[in-house]
């Protein structure tokens, strides 16, 4: 069975500081990994994905994520947080040969002015 863990329910960071939202996963075989963001009363928006290739992937709104196979992690990062980044972030996993996404429980990011 595949699973995704987001160990932090909430992350608070000051505006302008770097942010990290953590994600670890468990799957047989090679993973496809994703980050989605959900703003209040809005649907999920795709941020970035790791399929293969470079371990550092860049996505929308200045976000990036680093795939670490040995640590089975896919942490989301941004060098300088904006207040507008405050939202709910979901890490998701798709196992090879599967099509459904398995999501983490989400991490609420609050960027403090």
């Amino acid at each position: 069975a595949q699973s995704v863990a987001q160990p932090e329910d909430q992350v608070n960071v000051a505006e302008g500081n770097p942010l990290t939202v953590k994600c670890t996963y468990s799957v047989s075989g090679n993973p496809y990994l994703f980050w989605y963001v959900q703003y209040p009363n809005r649907g999920l928006q795709f941020l970035l994905k790791y399929i293969t290739g470079d371990n550092l992937v860049k996505g929308s709104y200045g976000f990036e994520a680093e795939f670490n196979k040995s640590q089975t992690s896919f942490h989301l990062k941004k060098p300088s947080a904006l207040v507008s980044d405050s939202a709910l972030y979901f890490c998701a996993l798709r196992g090879a040969g599967s099509y459904q996404l398995t999501f983490g429980k989400g991490t609420k990011l609050s960027v403090i002015p």
Partner: protein
């Protein structure tokens, strides 16, 4: 359309009533997915449609839940005899096909409240 649309955006119903939730996928997308987002539970896969193939219903929590997709486009998720634990946001997503399932585009969701 420009994106995945869902209706209604909010639905309040009494326990025991049936509800229907609708999803309009992105035009040309052959794969359609339903997920449920419950407070503190993250997103839970419910059902998957791909073209004219039989749907994958493995995520449906009980036989009170069913879904259909007419003409390979619009989908309806039906919950019969609703219970309070069915209260959640129901999200629909579509992708171009199953091989591009990583590019799932989500609708805004339907917030269901069972009183």
């Amino acid at each position: 359309g420009a994106g995945v649309s869902q209706s209604p955006s909010n639905k309040v119903t009494e326990k025991g009533k049936d509800v229907e939730l609708r999803c309009d996928p992105i035009s040309g997308h052959t794969a359609l997915y339903w997920y449920r987002q419950s407070l503190g539970q993250g997103l839970e896969f419910l059902i998957y449609f791909q073209g004219n193939s039989a749907p994958d219903k493995s995520g449906l929590p009980s036989d009170r839940f069913s879904a259909e997709r007419t003409g390979g486009s619009v989908s309806t998720l039906t919950i019969q005899r609703t219970q309070q634990e069915d209260s959640a946001v129901y999200l629909c997503a579509s992708s171009f096909d199953k091989d591009r399932a990583y590019e799932q585009y989500f609708g805004p969701g339907t917030r269901l409240t069972v009183t």
